[in-house]
């Protein structure tokens, strides 16, 4: 995609979160990890109209496709940034998938996971600084 209107807007990268190359984020919070897609990912997809959520209680592995986020034009697989068990999914996205566009790090969260090996997972993720550099390379 060439750099167009939507691309030049400032993309938010929240600190304290860990990111994948494919633009998922993971946020450790006590004994669970909240996961979702980044502001960059939602801005690329634009107008999200459907989310295929992971299944509650499913055992998932880091890097595994566990759902999908779809805009009018495109489908983007959602790869888990963490290994563990799905503890809760964001059912509100079924009726309001656009929450991912408006608040990707907040109301647009996709699932909460009980991690089984977070230390190994986090070693493969980027912190906010590294992820910022990663998306800069993609924008040119």
């Amino acid at each position: 995609m060439e750099e167009g209107k939507g691309m030049t807007d400032e993309v938010k990268v929240e600190t304290g979160l860990y990111y994948t190359n494919e633009h998922e984020w993971a946020k450790p919070s006590e004994d669970i990890v909240v996961i979702g897609i980044s502001d960059y990912a939602q801005s690329q997809l634009h107008e999200i109209v459907y989310v295929e959520l992971p299944k509650k209680d499913a055992a998932i592995a880091q890097g595994e496709a566990i759902g999908a986020v779809e805009s009018v034009k495109a489908v983007s697989d959602f790869y888990s940034p963490v290994t563990g068990t799905v503890f809760e999914v964001n059912e509100a996205l079924m009726d309001s998938p656009e929450k991912i566009n408006s608040d990707p790090y907040g109301e647009g969260w996709i699932a909460k996971v009980k991690p089984s090996n977070w230390d190994a997972n986090v070693a493969k993720l980027m912190d906010a600084e590294k992820y910022k550099q990663h998306i800069t390379t993609l924008k040119h």
Binding site: K5, G6, H46, E47, V49, Y50, E52, A68, V72, K73
Partner: protein, 375 residues
């Protein structure tokens, strides 16, 4: 590789989200596909269609020539009238779909898909053999803008020298727009009332006239629309997209385009014999409309099932912003063509339930589209 720029490129670069579309730098959206789609169904949207192929066919045998390459009845056209049709190979496979407009007995305007510009011109040129006819590719010399929606005539009238409402559906007439000479056809690719304007003597290297008309249309209230809305609108209207729903491996009979194949024509045309054979034998598959009754979005290439059995493939699919449904076109065996018949679509690992519905168009024509009664 440098992308090709259309007449309206300058506007796209400043306001749109530009992508590579078959080698052309085109906007996929400006504000968003959904608001642009709704603007066309409810008021008026404009599209840059100057990436499309536009050819003048001229000469004493132009009617005979066009009746040879096009399945529809070109001989039946009168001055100022156009007709939608397809060009077939001898085996009945579709080279492209197109609109042919008669300007005079010896001059026609032929309009076809952007992605097929080189292929179609070569195909037409090759088929001129034996006919006194001359082809001139005007694609880079003439701009093209589509104005679509229930308010299209009202919006266009604000910058036109004469009332565009005088042009009937599928007719074409010369009109001055923003002061420039244009040919204006009452056609489009959205299902709505609307116009396709050809801006004459406006080279793509210095397209001042097309840009002026585009900017004037924006000023008088037309919503600029990108290719995303163009695709979602044509799908909702059940209109064929070349490369998805029709191509050289599909024939017009199975595609639901028998109505543009005029066997009553006295002359031979490319594909005639093969298509007569297909009609006599019956088709092995037919293009149907599907709406999902469970959540999910069907997409091009997804498989369609009846229980355990794979019965076909989706050629076009997506969300219908006006209907708030997931819709698709697919080739299925003819026994599945009846509305109400239940099928499943394989979306990633899940079989999602759907049913056959009427698809040309998918929407209720008393609520949307050019046939609706104007309030």
């Amino acid at each position: 590789m440098e992308l090709r720029k259309t007449h309206i490129y300058q506007y796209h670069a400043e306001h749109g989200n530009v992508i590579d579309f078959g080698g052309f730098a085109m906007p996929v959206w400006y504000e968003g596909i959904i608001p642009e789609h709704k603007a066309v169904r409810e008021t008026c949207g404009i599209f840059d269609t100057s990436h499309m192929g536009r050819v003048y066919a001229e000469g004493p045998e132009v009617v005979k020539f066009l009746d040879y390459v096009d399945t529809n009845d070109i001989g039946a056209l009168i001055d100022g009238k156009g007709v939608y049709g397809v060009m077939c190979k001898p085996d009945g496979g579709i080279v492209d779909d197109l609109i042919v407009y008669r300007q005079s007995a010896e001059k026609f305007l032929v309009v076809y898909n952007a992605g097929n510009r080189a292929k179609d011109f070569a195909w037409l040129q090759k088929n001129t053999k034996g006919f006194k006819v001359k082809l001139t590719d005007m694609s880079d010399k003439v701009g093209m803008i589509a104005i679509q929606g229930p308010k299209a005539a009202e919006v266009l009238a604000k910058i036109a020298a004469t009332d565009p409402n005088a042009i009937e559906r599928f007719n074409i007439a010369p009109i001055k727009i923003s002061g420039f000479d244009c040919l204006t056809a009452r056609t489009g690719y959205t299902g709505e009332d609307g116009f396709e304007v050809f801006i004459l003597e406006d080279p793509v290297t210095a397209p001042a006239k097309s840009l002026k008309i585009w900017n004037d249309l924006v000023t008088v209230g037309a919503e600029p629309c990108g290719l995303g809305a163009r695709d979602s609108l044509r799908l909702e209207a059940g209109l064929w997209l070349y490369g998805n729903d029709i191509d050289e491996t599909t024939n017009p009979i199975e595609a639901g385009l028998k109505w543009v194949v005029k066997m009553k024509k006295s002359s031979y045309f490319n594909g005639r014999k093969a298509l007569e054979g297909i009609i006599e034998k019956g088709v092995s598959r037919t293009l149907v409309g599907i709406t999902l009754t469970e959540r999910g979005i069907p997409r091009h290439g997804y498989e369609v099932y009846d229980g355990e059995k794979k019965i076909g493939v989706i050629t076009s699919g997506g969300v219908a912003p006006i209907l708030n449904e997931s819709i698709a076109l697919a080739y299925l065996p003819p026994e599945y063509k009846e509305p109400g018949k239940e099928v499943q679509v394989k979306i990633r690992t899940n079989l999602v339930k759907g049913k056959i519905v009427k698809h040309h168009p998918f929407y209720d024509e008393s609520k949307y589209g050019w046939k609706r009664v104007k309030a």
